[in-house]
Structure formats: structure tokens, C-alpha cells
């Protein structure tokens, strides 16, 4: 009997300091390392600012790793208020490439745009994704 493949969901979750989000000239910090021949598709997730609502930057972004990365999610800081879960697709959390396969062999990073992230003490994240070979 043929068996259906049921794609498993993985979850990258944790907390980044402001310095980690602002690191590498705002390219940010890798949360899922690249793996050769693996393709990641982000399917859902959320961000949450701890300590204070986000400010300073234009947006916190979830991107691919590597050169000229595709932005998976762009969360305007206005949508990242203190202690509240900012879910992908909600107001100010533009989820353009959620559900779209990232470039093969690349991981995921969280950074910010235009200016450094300020006022937040830390940024919690929870990213659901699938992996295909």
C-alpha cells in the first residue's frame, strides 16, 4: 500500500538580545543554520518584544542566510509591542514569503532594517518551518 508522506513541522524558538538582532550591521543572528541540500519553508510563527515595545528600527526581519537574502517576514516595529505575540500575517507583520521555499542550502536569520532595534530588552521568536531534501 502506498504511504502518504506527511511533512513534519520543525520549530525554532528562543530569545535574542538587542545586540544579536543588530549584529553584523543589522543582518542579525542565525537562528537556523544552513544545511547543504536542504530547503527550508517557513510556514508560520510569531515574534514578541520583552521589556518594552520595539523601536528604532523600521522593521525586524526574518530572512534567509547568505548573500542577498530573501526576506521571509518583515515585522514593522509598530506591530511588535511589549509582551504581545505578533503573529505572521497580523497587522504590520508582512508575511510575503511565508509558505514559499527559501533558497536551497540556506538557513534563517533574524535582523532589522534601516536603524538599530532599540527599547526592546530582548526579542522572543517562534518560527515553524518544514525541511525538504
Amino acid at each position: 500500500m502506498a504511504t502518504t508522506t506527511h511533512p513534519r513541522v520543525h520549530c525554532a524558538s528562543g530569545s535574542l538580545t538587542l545586540a544579536q538582532v543588530n549584529a553584523n550591521t543589522r543582518v542579525g543572528t542565525i537562528i537556523v543554520p544552513p544545511a547543504v541540500d536542504r530547503t527550508i519553508t517557513v510556514v508560520d510563527g510569531w515574534l514578541r518584544s520583552e521589556g518594552h515595545s520595539a523601536g528604532g528600527a523600521t522593521a525586524v526581519i526574518l530572512t534567509e542566510t547568505g548573500g542577498t537574502p530573501t526576506t521571509v517576514v518583515s515585522a514593522a516595529v509598530a506591530g511588535i509591542t511589549q509582551d504581545l505575540i505578533a503573529r505572521f500575517g497580523a497587522a504590520n507583520i508582512t508575511a510575503t514569503n511565508v509558505g514559499t521555499a527559501c533558497t536551497k542550502g540556506r538557513g534563517l536569520a533574524i535582523g532589522c532594517t534601516v536603524g538599530n532595534l532599540t527599547t526592546s530588552h530582548s526579542l522572543d521568536y517562534c518560527i515553524y518551518y518544514t525541511v525538504t531534501v
Binding site: T4, P7, D44, G89, V98, G99, T130
Partner: protein, 136 residues
């Protein structure tokens, strides 16, 4: 007993992809299968979202159902909630109904996405992402 059920570890699965409008309204609006039938398995949908590339119209709702002859609707998203390029989420979107979220669908049946009352229009493609578990 309730606490025994709670302790069962169910590994969440995710089926995601894209359907054309023609696929959504195919088979007299029953739509297109996204998960095939599987004997002895039972699917429970827990979460998900839909996203249209244009403001959806024509149909009353886009529905995620099982493949049974008399299908159970896992959730429905009224076309008014499917605005261009916006994630319409289970449980959040104003136009969502999903009384069967978290409840097992028909045993041995897969999932499909279709539409109701009339053909889906305006939309060119529909992205979908469905979180579910499978029980034997």
C-alpha cells in the same frame, strides 16, 4: 482518561502549497485533493491559513474538507476574508468558521480544498498551509 490523552505526543505535520483557481473550483466546486486518502489513518486539522493573490470573490467561501462523499468541513474562509496577499488565519480572520478544528475528520479520508455556492473568481492562485496530526 483525560490526562492520558493529554500525555499522548502527537507530531504535528504541515501540508502547504498553491492551487490555481481552476483547481479550487474543480469537480463542481469539491475542489482538489491536497492529501490523499489513507486507509486506517484519521486526520485532525489543528491550524492553518489561506492566502489569495487577489481579493477573492464569486464563491461564498473557500473550504478545507475531508474527502468523504459527505465531507466534514475542517474550516471555511468566507471570500470577504481572503484579501490580496494577506494571510487569512484559522481562528483570527473575521470571516473564518471552523467548528471542526481539533476534531478528527472522517477515518481513512484525506483533505481537499474547494469552494461553496459559486465558483471562486478574481483570485489567480490560492496559497494554503494546513497543520494537522495523523492517528492510526
Amino acid at each position: 482518561m483525560a490526562y492520558v490523552q493529554f500525555m499522548q505526543k502527537k507530531r504535528m505535520k504541515c501540508i502547504h502549497g498553491q492551487l490555481t483557481t481552476a483547481q479550487v473550483k474543480a469537480n463542481s466546486r469539491k475542489g482538489t485533493i491536497i492529501l490523499p486518502d489513507e486507509t486506517g489513518r484519521k486526520i485532525t486539522v489543528w491550524d492553518g491559513w489561506l492566502r489569495s493573490d487577489g481579493n477573492a470573490s464569486g464563491a461564498t467561501a473557500v473550504v478545507v474538507t475531508d474527502n468523504a462523499a459527505t465531507p466534514i468541513v475542517a474550516f471555511a474562509m468566507a471570500v470577504g476574508g481572503l484579501t490580496a496577499a494577506t494571510v487569512a488565519r484559522v481562528g483570527v480572520a473575521t470571516h473564518y468558521t471552523g467548528t471542526t478544528i481539533g476534531q478528527p475528520l472522517t477515518g481513512g479520508k484525506g483533505l481537499r480544498i474547494g469552494c461553496t455556492v459559486a465558483d471562486l473568481a478574481t483570485t489567480t492562485v490560492l496559497d494554503y498551509c494546513i497543520f494537522y496530526t495523523v492517528e492510526s
